[in-house]
Amino acid sequence: MAEIPTPKAPGLVKGLGVTLKTMAKTMFPSRGVRTLVPAPSQGAATVQYPHEKETPPPRARGVIALKEDNCTVCMLCARSCPDWCIYIEGHKATAPPRRPGGRPRTVNELDRFDIDYALCMYCGICVEVCPFDALFWSPEYEYSELRLADLLHDKERLGQWMETVPDFEPYEAGSEQKVRKVPR
């Protein structure tokens, strides 16, 4: 079944009309009183970075933030990373008992938690598999460095990104997901 379209006006003329219309819309985007004032900066689709910036949606995968207190050094994130860009070192330590009269507990303490953003694929598997809510996505994207080595973010830096993590959004109607909370 094929319906080959027959244009009503000669295609050559219509094409010229499309480009002219786009030019007019770009140059004169305003309505009302200011119709004839050329304002291409508003009419064009360009966002003049770095003077203007776009805000990515809250779920955008910009950078990974670490909540150090929640991390139990289970190594799940490091194991599941497709690029093996997470470097974790920890040691076992003895913590005081939870209640007076109990026995001392063995806990894992985090020594080193580095994410190498030069390798990171921004896939989010590490954030997803973490069972203890220690990793979160933040939409921050302006962390380019002049040296490649500076793209290795250590524990402190990853903890600082926690401030930029937005709250989880509510879901669309019909969803049965529960909105999680970001530990602050």
């Binding site: 010229l16 030019m23 900066s41």
Partner: protein, 345 residues
């Protein structure tokens, strides 16, 4: 510019120097203005974007920055290229533009040369750029460039005929080959007895104007006739191996030739530097005339670039078919009709 313009007596060699510098300035300024207004801004607005905005206010210094960039680039010549021809080609193409612009009048006394065979000379020297393009294509020792150069040669030669024939209609109506005479004929003429707006040949020679525009588009190798530079196939066609200053010359030549041909079209069809109702011999017309001509150049160039940014390109054989099977018969019919009407009225 005659000596009376400046009210001092200049020797012939001094006049020549002034005129040469004037043509140089005209070509460069014209190319620069067209590049900024049409390539950087109009094309961008047609594509919903802004174009260069950082270099200078609203990107006005971008061309200066680009010129500086190209000048300081390394001069690369392919090792199998014919060095002398390779070096000569850009200059030949630019030369053609100078020669065309030298014959266009900007005012009653503001002209570089006033030839009696004005338009004939212009059409003749416009073919010098074909030589330059062929040289570039051959001397580059690159198959893509060769393909581009051959395509260009075929195309440019094919489209010169319709251009010449379209102009014949104008010449018949004006009765002279002299460019100033054509301007005067349009300003003072009448359309079937009505003389309010003179006789701009775009109205009476509308077929000729259409043919001239199409042939002009092809002569300038602008889309839809830009097979020689077909970017997605031949990278840059005959210009592929050129970098730095040599490429800058091609670039300037491309846009200056748009300006030059638009000036010729404006003179032939839109009335040139004159406006209906103005005193053609007044001295102030030497200042107002260039401005009027510039506005008309911008109008014609707008149409040229508008078409360029909108249409895809023709294939080489379709291009040739359009020239030989459609435009030339049409222009011959146009000449016949013009002759008949001229005799009848």
């Amino acid at each position: 510019m005659t000596a009376s313009l400046l009210a001092i007596e200049l020797a012939y060699w001094q006049q020549t120097v002034l005129r040469s510098v004037g043509v140089l300035a005209a070509v460069l300024l014209l190319a620069g203005t067209l590049v900024y207004v049409f390539l950087f801004k109009m094309m961008s607005f047609m594509q919903s974007r802004l174009g260069p905005m950082e270099a200078g206010p609203y990107g006005s210094m971008q061309l200066l920055a680009e010129v500086g960039k190209w000048i300081q680039k390394e001069d690369i010549i392919p090792w199998r290229a014919d060095r002398r021809l390779f070096a000569m080609a850009p200059y030949v193409v630019v030369l053609a533009v100078f020669l065309i612009l030298a014959a266009v009048p900007f005012g009653p006394d503001a002209w570089f040369t006033d030839l009696d065979v004005g338009i004939f000379y212009v059409l003749a020297v416009s073919s010098i750029s074909v030589l330059g393009i062929l040289l570039a294509g051959w001397a580059s020792a690159n198959k893509y460039s060769l393909l581009g150069g051959l395509r260009a040669a075929g195309q440019l030669i094919a489209y010169e005929l319709p251009m010449v024939l379209a102009v014949v209609g104008v010449v018949i109506q004006a009765g002279t080959l002299n460019m100033q005479g054509i301007v005067a004929a349009q300003a003072d003429g009448e359309i079937f007895g009505f003389s309010g707006i003179g006789n701009p040949y775009i109205i009476t020679q509308f077929v000729g104007f259409f043919i001239f525009l199409v042939s002009m588009q092809a002569e300038l190798t602008q889309a839809p006739f830009d097979m020689p530079i077909a970017e997605s196939e031949l990278v840059s066609g005959y210009m592929t191996e050129y970098s730095g200053m040599r490429f800058l010359l091609f670039f300037i030549a491309e846009f200056a030739s748009v300006g030059a041909f638009s000036a010729v079209a404006a003179t032939l069809f839109l009335g040139g530097w004159a406006l209906p109702g103005m005193d053609l011999d007044a001295d102030y017309m030497n200042v107002v005339g260039p401005i009027v001509l510039l506005v008309k150049i911008m109008l014609v160039s707008f149409v040229v670039f508008w078409v360029r940014f909108t249409y895809p390109r023709f294939r080489e054989d379709q291009l040739q078919q359009l020239a030989w099977k459609f435009l030339i018969p049409l222009s011959l019919v146009n000449i016949l009709a013009t002759m008949a009407l001229k005799v009848a009225w």
